[in-house]
């Protein structure tokens, strides 16, 4: 299938035009869009789509996505006010991916991701207050202010970070999956990366070993189509990420990353397989980020147009899911508005909590680096008073 697509693309565009197209933000999305549509989810009846999820669960998914959106909006506001520093990557547009996928897990399963992670942390169980306090660099943050936006952790919630080197978390997740097998546990390691991480060696090394040793790892690639400002088709020789699993004899799936129920469907199936000892799965979640790569980057510009973003916003996962729930009489417009008010309030409270949380003491500078500070010999060489 991939070969056919490549050949089609070549016959349609002579080499010089193809070169030009590869650098033109106007033309590329059209070619990409074509391949995109070919991998869309199967036609499903409403019943199949809902997968027997209870009314309560379906509403909770809505609640979680709304909280994710409002929390990130609050984060953007706090960043603009200078309350949050450093790099800060928002999840707006991609909410369906983590919310749908984490709903498919059990409480003792593990979650790990890269640096676009505030929503994953919350979805894994960390309180919005602890996440916001971490963003503010405060003592009540989930990493006590030492991690920040890119390094949230919660051992209590089996939330394993929060990693800042593209692709670096995938071998770590492989190790957690190894531990699960070593200890003969029935748990799942669900790990995320962006599509750009797929080109890193770490991705391929980890996939090979995960499949070789049948480890309970589910890798969800959040394909939001741009590694910072580089369109995926400008970075990858093979567009379809899910096909890369074939190289490692690993099952894979492509999911609609704008639909939490589709994310739930593929993630559940993958988690069940992993729990049964049948090994890893690669999931490509096709999604879109409505915001810039980080708070320091523009929403659109040289790599995509404002119109592109506006067009994608018609597929806003929250709006589409709200429409579905309304059509099925699961959640009315009034109930949705009430829910929205609740999560907005929760986000405000998270920000208040962060604001009131103390700054970590500078005396903490030398704590939590080593397991034991009173050791033989010298651990630090800066000649400062401690």
């Amino acid at each position: 299938m991939a070969e056919e697509q490549t050949q089609t693309a070549e016959t349609e565009a002579p080499e010089d035009q193809a070169q030009e197209a590869a650098h033109s933000p106007q033309d590329v999305p059209a070619a990409e869009q074509r391949r995109w549509q070919e991998a869309q989810k199967p036609e499903m009846s409403d019943e199949e789509h809902l997968q027997g999820l209870s009314r309560e669960q379906l509403r909770k998914i809505m609640w979680d996505m709304l909280l994710a959106r409002r929390f990130e909006e609050k984060t953007a506001e706090a960043y603009a006010l200078g309350k949050i520093g450093g790099f800060c990557h928002l999840y707006i547009g991609q909410e369906a991916v983590a919310v749908g996928a984490i709903h498919a897990l059990q409480p003792d399963d593990y979650v790990m991701t890269a640096y676009r992670e505030h929503v994953h942390a919350i979805q894994a169980g960390v309180t919005p207050g602890a996440v916001m306090a971490e963003l503010y660099g405060r003592a009540d943050g989930c990493s006590k202010g030492k991690g920040g936006s890119m390094h949230m952790f919660s051992a209590e919630h089996n939330y394993l970070g929060g990693h800042g080197i593209v692709g670096g978390q995938i071998p770590l997740a492989l190790g957690v999956a190894w531990k699960i097998k070593y200890r003969k546990e029935e748990r799942v390691m669900q790990v995320y990366c962006g599509e750009a991480a797929v080109n890193q060696g770490a991705f391929h090394e980890a996939l090979n070993m995960a499949a070789l040793w049948k480890l309970p790892m589910v890798l969800i690639v959040e394909n939001n189509r741009f590694g910072m400002g580089t369109a995926w088709e400008r970075a990858a020789s093979l567009y379809d990420i899910w096909q890369k699993a074939t190289a490692y004899a690993m099952p894979s799936a492509v999911a609609d990353g704008m639909d939490p129920l589709d994310m739930y469907r593929v993630s559940k199936e993958a988690a069940d397989r992993a729990r049964r000892g049948e090994g890893p799965t690669l999931i490509e979640a096709r999604t879109y980020r409505f915001v810039g790569h980080s708070m320091s980057d523009p929403v659109s510009g040289v790599y995509r147009t404002k119109e592109d973003v506006e067009a994608e916003k018609l597929k806003d996962p929250i709006r589409i899911y709200a429409d579905l729930l309304a059509r099925l009489d699961i959640l009315s417009q009034e109930e949705l508005e009430a829910m929205d008010a609740e999560v907005k309030k929760l986000s405000e409270e998270a920000a208040d909590f962060a604001d009131k949380s103390p700054e970590p003491g500078v005396a903490e500078l030398y704590t939590e680096i080593y397991a034991e500070e009173n050791v033989n010999g010298r651990l630090y060489f800066d000649m400062r008073e401690r």
Partner: protein
């Protein structure tokens, strides 16, 4: 005490620690069926099975990261690099993950992992297989670094590394695996990290070094003795934590210092120690601190060139004579 090789001492340490704690496992290239590229893991696969002695594909970044993930969730990996030269591919996981996980999570995750493998030049292995990288690794706060130079130290330090709750990088001497020495047989023979060992006592000059270079230093000290010069030879054993008390004590005793390391001078551990001594013991010095290191070039293949590039006992003697103004 039995006389065994450095290789056998490491093997004993691994076997004893795996026996003692079912969470300890060994992973790396050729560690299982092949019994280890340097036979350090000989017999362990038969004894402990394939979940605990794990042959990996050639994928250093991948299995180093695997170890870090496994350690952060509670088991105790020993990750073997066929040589530290190959671990350069895995440095992202050692420096960005293992060294920082405890700190950036606000202390939530332990990192009880051991990375080990041979360091330094052997014979005519050329540029990519001859590097002594311990100084570079010791640069990163969050890791610990040990460099055993004798069979007894190899056993005691590896056991300590495996029992430690922080990432410990063990740099073994590629040319030391066949070295024989007395090694205690006690299961709890553990040498605490951060404790240097005075391998030879003297009062005229301090030669401070680690790893394979202790043998070069001892050779130099033997030559100097013929001239009536008595050298202290301090084996650091551990680069981080570093036994600065032992360093300052020998400086206070002899007032003259020659630092020796197998790696390059630029940013080397000897540079750090020289800075530390002048900051903290300047008044004890009767001469500038001098260093002997590898020539500051990629290691050449040709025999004579390689020999010229490596630190030698003659070079140490020459530097000692200079600090003694002889």
């Amino acid at each position: 005490m039995a006389v065994i090789t450095y290789r056998e001492a490491l093997n004993q340490a691994l076997a004893e620690e795996m026996e003692r704690d079912p969470d300890v496992f060994l992973m790396g290239e050729e560690v299982g069926v092949y019994n280890g590229a340097y036979k350090v893991s000989k017999g362990l696969l038969d004894r402990f099975g394939e979940m605990r002695v794990v042959d990996t594909p050639i994928t250093e970044l991948g299995f180093a990261g695997l170890g870090v993930g496994a350690a952060m969730t509670g088991i105790r990996p020993v990750i073997e690099f066929m040589t530290w030269n190959f671990a350069i591919l895995a440095f992202d996981q050692i420096f960005n993950s293992a060294a920082k996980m405890r700190s950036m999570s606000g202390g939530q995750f332990k990192m009880p992992i051991t990375f080990r493998g041979p360091t330094g030049a052997a014979l005519q292995l050329a540029a990519q297989h001859s590097q002594a990288l311990e100084s570079q690794v010791a640069h990163y706060p969050g890791v610990k670094v040990v460099v055993p130079g004798t069979p007894a130290d190899a056993k005691g330090l590896l056991k300590a590394a495996i029992r430690d709750d922080d990432p410990v990088c063990v740099f073994e001497g590629e040319m030391l695996y066949n070295l024989k020495g007395e090694v205690p047989e006690d299961d709890d023979y553990v040498i605490p990290l951060g404790v240097a060992d005075l391998k030879r006592e003297g009062s005229d000059v301090s030669i401070i070094t680690h790893g394979k270079m202790i043998h070069v230093a001892l050779q130099a000290a033997a030559q100097l003795e013929k001239d009536g010069i008595q050298a202290d030879v301090l084996d650091l054993r551990s680069l981080r934590p570093l036994d600065t008390d032992a360093i300052l004590a020998t400086v206070a005793k002899t007032n003259r210092v020659v630092l020796v390391e197998e790696g390059w001078p630029y940013g080397g551990i000897t540079a750090t120690i020289a800075a530390m001594i002048q900051e903290e013991a300047f008044d004890h010095l009767d001469a500038p601190i001098l260093r002997v290191t590898q020539a500051d070039v990629p290691m050449p293949y040709a025999k004579a060139m390689e020999k010229a590039a490596k630190p030698s006992a003659e070079m140490v003697v020459e530097k000692v004579n200079r600090v003694l103004y002889r």
